[in-house]
């Protein structure tokens, strides 16, 4: 110890004697200054981030408060015209709440129940807005759903306000800490833990009843049973292999390897066998394909061979013919091509069944065709497998003339078809499909053939490489 001190003393003495004291100190000061500058920068960024999170949190709280209040008010309305504006507000408030809450750095498991609730509340309100605008009274079930949503909006609002109260009491939330370790670590590190926590919300939302209504986030969507595989016999892996052979062409295949099958524990999914195919001129597998275990249908196929040539050797017309032939050969008769998009030497074409002059848009099959040699390099039939069945079409109650009159006169109709279209809730409606122009832009307008309601407007995007809708 003494020796050490001695050395230090000598060193210091040496410094002063050589006049290097000041130089060292200046150098140290610069380093320190730089360090402080960096530290301050980091603090600034951190603060900025904290502020953004804090803002999202406060905003989410406000929106949820408003929701609770609006649900209460809606329950006090009687006629559709009274309810409609309130549901419209609810739609907006809930959607904003969802957006803000999803920006907070909670891990997904903690926050997903609340996010789901908000998505559904918003979506449900939108569907009720539409119902009310059409002049329909809400029925008993609708009112029950409103009451249920109000109850959970209250729970969420109460918990969020508890957290807000904590913040107002001076217990700032360290969002960085939440992001790093989840909520528990925050609770452990902090004696005054945040009482109303998201874990608590998650627990309270555990038993939230399912909500079924006419919208894309309704619980029925996930539970939909695929129509093509329902009650079909389960095939073996070997039978699946045969189906792959037939689908791709036995003469082209070197080997087929079965690479996986869907875990039986998974709910709401289509059980498949997965295969990988090595073609004759290849060393490695270049095709992946899934076959449904029930019924043995091809769910999708993707050939990801890198094609060297980027030149288009065939025309779009030829590509369409090849695709049609491919479908016919594989027992998908009467499929009609609709939209397509060509990118980098491949074209994806949408097909839908055409039966008794009606296009069945829900039963979608997509084909990817190589513009190099017209080979089919992709097949996607989820829509078809989910939806395809022998439909009993409803009786047409509106004439084409009446339907036309529902559309603005400025729309110049060039073509009319009958079509079954899927709405966002997957509900299907039989419509007149009016193709025409407005402002020299092409559009499709769908008028319900039963009710005369305008169900959808699609803009057609056209170029030399694509025809798509928006």
């Amino acid at each position: 110890m003494e020796e050490k001190n001695n050395k230090l003393y000598q060193w210091k003495k040496g410094l002063s004697s050589t006049g290097m004291y000041s130089v060292t100190i200046i150098a140290l000061a610069i380093v320190l200054g730089f360090g402080l500058y960096q530290y301050k920068q980091r603090l600034n960024y951190r603060q900025y981030l904290q502020n953004r999170f804090q803002e999202s949190f406060y905003e989410a709280t406000t929106y949820v408060d408003n929701m609770e209040n609006l649900f209460t008010k809606v329950r006090l309305t009687k006629t559709p015209d009274q309810s409609a504006p309130l549901f419209a507000q609810l739609w907006r408030e809930a959607s904003s709440a969802q957006e803000n809450l999803s920006e907070l750095p909670y891990d997904h498991n903690t926050i997903s129940k609340a996010l789901k609730f908000l998505s559904q509340a918003s979506d449900f309100s939108f569907s009720m807005t539409n119902k009310a605008i059409e002049g329909f009274e809400l029925d008993r079930e609708d009112w029950d759903k409103v009451a249920q949503l109000q109850k959970y909006a209250k729970i969420l609002s109460d918990e969020l306000n508890k957290i807000k109260q904590e913040i107002n009491d001076g217990n700032r939330i360290d969002w960085e800490e939440i992001e790093r370790g989840g909520e528990e670590s925050l609770a452990k590190g902090n004696a005054k833990m945040i009482t109303g926590s998201f874990s608590e919300i998650s627990k309270q939302f555990e038993d939230i009843p399912t909500l079924i209504y006419d919208g894309p986030f309704s619980d029925h969507i996930e539970r939909m049973q695929p129509r093509m595989t329902r009650n079909k016999k389960k095939i073996s892996k070997e039978e699946g292999k045969k189906i792959v052979e037939e689908f791709i062409g036995k003469d082209k295949i070197k080997t087929i390897k079965q690479t996986g099958e869907t875990d039986t524990k998974v709910e709401h999914t289509i059980p498949v066998y997965s295969y990988q195919v090595v073609l004759k001129d290849q060393e490695d597998p270049t095709i992946s394909i899934d076959i449904t275990q029930q019924g043995g249908h091809v769910l999708w196929m993707l050939n990801y061979t890198e094609k060297e040539s980027s030149k288009d050797n065939i025309s779009l017309e030829e590509a369409r013919k090849k695709a049609e032939k491919f479908l016919e050969d594989r027992d998908y008769p009467n499929m009609k091509a609709s939209y397509y998009e060509k990118v980098d030497g491949t074209v994806v074409i949408n097909f839908a069944p055409y039966k008794d002059n009606v296009i069945m848009y829900p039963d979608l099959i997509k084909l990817k065709v190589s513009m190099d040699d017209g080979e089919i390099i992709g097949f996607e039939a989820l829509g078809y497998i989910m939806m395809h069945h022998d439909r009993k079409l409803p009786e047409i109650k509106i004439s084409q003339q009446e339907a036309r009159e529902k559309i603005t006169k400025d729309f110049r109709v060039t073509n009319v078809n009958m079509a079954v279209i899927p709405l966002e809730s997957k509900r299907e409606v039989l419509c007149y499909e009016f193709k025409g122009e407005f402002d020299s832009q092409p559009f499709l307008i769908y008028i319900n053939a039963e009710s005369g309601k305008q169900e959808k407007i699609l803009q057609i995007l056209q170029s030399k490489n694509a025809v798509l809708t928006k």
Binding site: S17, M20, D107, T262, D290, Y304, D344
Partner: protein
């Protein structure tokens, strides 16, 4: 005494050097999220083009080797100050335009004559590239499919950007790898996913069994295994 003096001088010198290096790094690093900027450490054809042009005009004396080093940096800087650009030594969009180099930006490829079903191809491709480069092609399509399945799912944000940038959702977003220029394979995979191909059977989660930290994730039923990733839904 003399040796000590020398040591001190050296130490001070190193400190000053460190400092200036730190400042320099700070200034040289591209701060803006700009995928088409070239700076210290960049390599490739575009760098070669920059060097060639600057050499022609007498700004650059080094080899045209396609490596963005000190000399290139200096050359770009003097080119920038002569042309009224901010002399930061980073060849960004403006500088490249002035030099007369057309950079193939994949987001621009889509413009013009081409209409596309979704303008999010590029963002999606960046996410796929950041998360799954090195994965088999099918696995890349699968990552895109998971992003889209989340957009359609009620427990997640309802836009592609919302899902990708959700805090903590993707490692490649957290560590900035999403800002890498996506490769052709990622772009193709993004298009396939947006066109509806879903190799995952509707999965909304995926994880790498070798590195997954969360215990919770193992309670998610598995729909598919592709490459290094496991896909699942609840």
């Amino acid at each position: 005494m003399r040796t000590k003096k020398i040591i001190l001088v050296i130490v001070t010198f190193i400190m000053v050097l460190n400092l200036s290096y730190a400042f320099w790094i700070y200034n040289v690093t591209a701060k803006a999220v700009n995928t088409i900027s070239y700076t210290w450490g960049s390599e490739g054809d575009v760098v070669r083009q920059i060097q060639q042009k600057l050499k022609q005009w007498g700004y650059y004396n080094g080899n045209v080797d396609g490596k963005y080093g000190y000399q290139t940096w200096e050359a770009v800087k003097s080119f920038q100050s002569k042309n009224g650009l901010k002399a930061d030594g980073i060849a960004g969009k403006q500088t490249l335009e002035k030099i007369g180099i057309q950079v193939k930006d994949s987001s621009q490829k889509q413009r013009g004559d081409n209409v596309s079903s979704s303008k999010d191809v590029r963002l999606m491709a960046a996410a796929i590239h950041g998360e799954g480069r090195g994965e088999p092609y099918e696995g890349q399509v699968a990552i895109g499919a998971v992003i889209l399945n989340r957009v359609r799912h009620s427990s997640f944000p309802n836009t592609i950007a919302g899902v990708i940038y959700q805090p903590g959702a993707f490692d490649a977003v957290a560590d900035g790898q999403i800002n890498l220029e996506p490769g052709d394979s990622a772009l193709k995979a993004a298009r396939d996913a947006l066109n509806g191909w879903d190799p995952t059977g509707g999965a909304i989660y995926y994880w790498n069994p070798a590195t997954a930290k969360s215990k919770w994730i193992w309670s998610v039923p598995i729909t598919k295994r592709i490459g290094k990733h496991v896909f699942g839904k609840k």
